[in-house]
């Protein structure tokens, strides 16, 4: 009972401190919220929320009299300015190639499309070639990729017609008229088959996301779930250590020594302190899970599985915190030790790379060297909808490791106050 009194007193004191409240609830929700705002529906497993791409077009195309009014460059400009692409592109006509390039260099535009002077001639005459130059800002990847894709699709129509004419000529030794008919037949096929530039999808391609991506998103376990749990784990480990720090602080302030002079045994006093760590973590993790579920719509998984991984996280974070603080001599050391050790172990445990694609496979193994890695692994399984059986290994490791770290930490503290 006395241990509980001590724990509640410490808990009350902690919850009156703005710093503790910010680190317990504010920081993890703030970081996840920022990333949620940044990536919008993508973070929740939806499509990319793309920014409008600013395009400068320099149309240098000069169709000759023999083109019969056909102007390929003008067609490309009209295509890029079409209403269908209005949400995606913001197209401006530039006064020449130099102006278009300068706009990109001065970051007034993301991409410049430079249509060469012989574009129409190359589209019409056999044996002639032309290259459209796309000048792009090197810090960007998505916008230039979209523009290049659209321009490629458009000019592939001309290129395909020329290739059709060339193949017919080559196979049948045909004359110019037959070649032109072949080019027209190809253009008609493009128009009717849905392979042309105006089509949103290519009919010859049937796409699907990789197994695991679509399903998890539909269950509300998109990237945002992984980010939120990573932040929860990081700040749970922080609070585990921060709560255990109260032992050192009270020791420095002399209040612990005064407590030891009372009839309450040292075991009960220290037990109350350790209970504070566990109670703090219970409150923190439960509040964060509920709050993030409500704010970001995250579904954490099956209730019993979530209970087990929550229990594992609390035990391992408490054990790690108590052990870490048992090595610290005074409160001046706690800040950097917590900051340094928890950041490094969190980094290696994969807490700062959750939801990031293309992480080397070996990292999945490396992260399990850290207790944070096991916590992350267990929670990832829970988020994927795994049952109790699926999380037994990570939960077992977290409970075992947590108990071990906790025991060593307690022994070291008791030695210190013996």
């Amino acid at each position: 009972m006395k241990a509980l009194d001590i724990a509640f007193k410490d808990l009350l004191r902690a919850f009156k401190t703005p710093f503790v409240l910010i680190m317990m609830f504010g920081a993890p929700l703030l970081i996840t919220g920022l990333l949620y705002l940044a990536f919008g529906s993508l973070a929740g497993g939806g499509d990319l929320d793309l920014q409008t791409v600013r395009v400068q077009v320099a149309n240098l195309d000069r169709p000759g009299a023999q083109s019969g009014g056909f102007a390929a460059g003008e067609m490309l400009v009209e295509f890029l300015q079409s209403e269908d692409l209005g949400d995606m592109l913001e197209v401006t006509l530039a006064d020449g190639e130099g102006a278009a390039r300068k706009a990109v260099e001065e970051q007034q535009a993301d991409v410049a499309v430079i249509i060469p002077h012989d574009f129409t001639a190359a589209a019409l005459a056999s044996g002639r070639e032309a290259t459209v130059v796309q000048y792009e800002d090197p810090t960007l990847t998505i916008g230039p990729g979209i523009v290049e894709d659209l321009v490629s699709q458009f000019i592939d129509g001309f290129a395909g017609a020329k290739i059709a004419a060339g193949v017919v000529t080559q196979q049948l030794a045909a004359d110019e008229t037959v070649a032109q008919e072949a080019a027209l037949a190809y253009a008609a096929w493009l128009e009717s088959s849905g392979h042309g530039h105006g089509d949103e999808t290519t009919p010859s391609v049937d796409s699907r996301p990789p197994a695991g991506v679509g399903e998890s998103a539909s269950e509300g376990t998109g990237t945002i779930g992984a980010i939120m749990i990573a932040m929860t784990i990081f700040f749970a480990f922080f609070m585990g250590a921060n709560s255990a720090e109260s032992i050192i602080r009270e020791d420095e302030e002399g209040t612990l020594e005064r407590l030891f002079t009372t009839p309450t045994s040292q075991a009960i006093i220290l037990g109350g302190k350790f209970l504070t760590v566990v109670l703090t973590l219970i409150v923190q993790v439960v509040v964060l899970l509920l709050a993030s579920g409500l704010i970001f719509g995250i579904k954490w998984g099956q209730p019993l599985t979530v209970f087990l991984v929550t229990l594992g996280l609390i035990v391992v974070a408490a054990g790690f915190g108590v052990l870490l603080m048992s090595f610290v001599k005074n409160t001046r050391q706690t800040g950097p030790v917590m900051g340094g050790v928890l950041t490094l172990t969190g980094m290696l445990g994969g807490l700062f790379t959750s939801g990031v694609p293309n992480i080397p496979e070996a990292f999945d193994t490396v992260r399990l060297v850290m207790p944070q890695g096991w916590a992350m692994y267990g929670w990832e399984l829970a988020l994927q909808g795994s049952g109790v059986g699926g999380v037994l290994l990570p939960v077992g490791v977290m409970l075992g490791l947590g108990a071990l770290l906790f025991a060593v930490g307690v022994i070291l503290f008791r030695k210190r106050f013996a």
Binding site: P18, I31, L34, L35, A38, F39, G40, G46, L48, D49, Q51, R101, E105, Q107, A123, E129, T131, V132, V133, Q134, E136, D137, P138, T139, L140, T141, G145, E148, D149, S152, I155, D156, A159, I163, A164, G166, V167, V168, Q170, E181, L190, S193, H195, T202, P203, S204, V205, D206, S207, P209, P210, A211, G212, V213, P336, M347, F352, N358, I359, E361
Partner: protein, 405 residues
């Protein structure tokens, strides 16, 4: 002279504290290294294109080979042949980003296509990622070219039918396949094409910027703010211990006291950046020194911004805990919103617009103008000016709110 003495005292206090080395030097280098590797573009060392797996379930047909040739000619993707035994791993490889996408050529695909039917290739790609979306577009282009080659063969065969016809179905089939081969060969160098050129001054169109081009300036900015913990703490401790009050009893002018603290903070951030620039240049191949004056201008103005923010935190905080809390909040907000963690391009439109109001976004712009866009002093004048304006604003508020006890 007194201002230098005061700054020297602060610097000595900061340097003697071993925690400074951790926050100012070790952690930013580790984070730069870590995020540089994590956010490195997916590419082979000798081929910057996105890897796309190709599973051929139609080995008797000729079109899978044609598709591979068309993909090989792409500027965006490169084909990686997968055998049937690797089929079970496909989804995992795409999910993990080892492959940007996988194309499955289904059984009987070639026969159906050459017979004028409309078979489909199965493409597995996570289009919610940049790599997946880019690879998917590249695959659609390649598929359209492949089907265009098949249509070319049909057009040619129809013309031949009209002229002399075929002696047998086998002859027709051989003719079609020859036409497809000819068309695919032509698609290797299309007569009308688009080429991408990066606005870097130098022609470096093949090489994508490394992950360090983002992580090095990003972490430099983040830890310029995070490093304020140690210097703002000095100010709070001076106030707490009464040292500031004692200073006021001496003939030292108030402006000198504040100036000494700001100068110390400025020097701490400036030397931290000098070290990180050197590490970025020598270890991570981030070329800050291609425009040394521009880099210096950014370092000076970023240090002034950070120092004035540090003074503001030190002026407002009454306890050490508050210094840590406010420094962390400032770091999280400015670093995330300003694009220090990830390029603002990948964030949503509203986020990017809001982000560009922050001084850190301008700092990122200025530093990336140097290391990615290969631009000179002129390109950093606006970002540096905006950092100076922020520095003046924070300094004004800090001086206004400065308390000596």
């Amino acid at each position: 002279m007194r201002i230098l003495n005061l700054a020297g005292k602060d610097l000595l206090q900061i340097v003697r504290d071993w925690k400074s080395a951790l926050f100012l030097v070790v952690m930013p280098i580790l984070f730069t290294l870590f995020f540089g590797f994590v956010f490195a573009p997916v590419q082979a060392e000798d081929d910057p294109r996105l890897p796309v797996g190709l599973v051929n379930q139609d080995p008797a047909g000729s079109l899978a080979a044609g598709l591979k040739d068309v993909l090989a000619a792409s500027d965006v993707v490169r084909p990686v042949t997968l055998d049937e035994t690797e089929k079970d791993q496909i989804d995992k490889q795409v999910r993990r980003g080892d492959l940007a996408a996988v194309i499955i050529v289904p059984q009987d695909f070639s026969r159906q296509a050459l017979a004028g039917e409309s078979p489909q290739l199965t493409v597995i790609a996570d289009r919610a990622t940049t790599a997946g979306q880019t690879a998917h577009s590249g695959i659609e282009t390649a598929a359209s070219r492949l089907m265009g080659a098949v249509e070319t063969a049909h057009i040619s065969a129809t013309e031949r039918d009209a002229r002399e016809g075929f002696s047998s179905q086998i002859a027709r089939q051989a003719y079609l396949e020859e036409a497809v081969d000819l068309a695919i060969a032509s698609w290797q160098t299309p007569p009308i094409r688009v080429t991408a050129e990066q606005a870097t001054g130098a022609a470096t169109e093949e090489e994508a910027p490394s992950g360090f081009a983002q992580s090095s300036p990003g972490m430099m900015i983040q830890f310029a703010i995070f490093g304020l913990i140690t210097s703002a703490m000095v100010l709070v401790l001076e106030r707490k211990t009464g040292a500031l009050r004692r200073l006021m009893t001496t003939p030292t002018h108030r402006a000198t006291i504040i100036g000494g603290h700001v100068l110390a903070m400025f020097l701490v951030v400036f030397f931290q950046q000098a070290l990180l620039v050197a590490v970025g240049q020598l270890l991570f191949d981030v070329d800050y020194l291609q425009a040394p004056l521009a880099t210096l201008a950014m370092m000076v103005t970023l240090s002034m911004f950070a120092a004035s923010l540090g003074l503001l935190i030190g002026a407002l905080a009454t306890k050490e805990e508050q210094v840590i809390t406010w420094s962390l909040i400032a770091m999280f907000l400015f670093a995330a919103l300003g694009g220090a963690w990830f390029p603002l391009e990948v964030a949503g439109e509203t986020f990017a617009v809001i982000g560009h109001v922050t001084p850190t976004a301008w700092a990122m712009d200025g530093l990336q103008n140097i290391v990615v866009r290969s631009q000179g002093l002129g390109s950093v004048l606006l970002p540096a000016g905006i950092l100076l304006a922020y520095a003046a604003m924070f300094l004004g508020i800090a001086v206004w709110q400065f308390r000596y006890e």
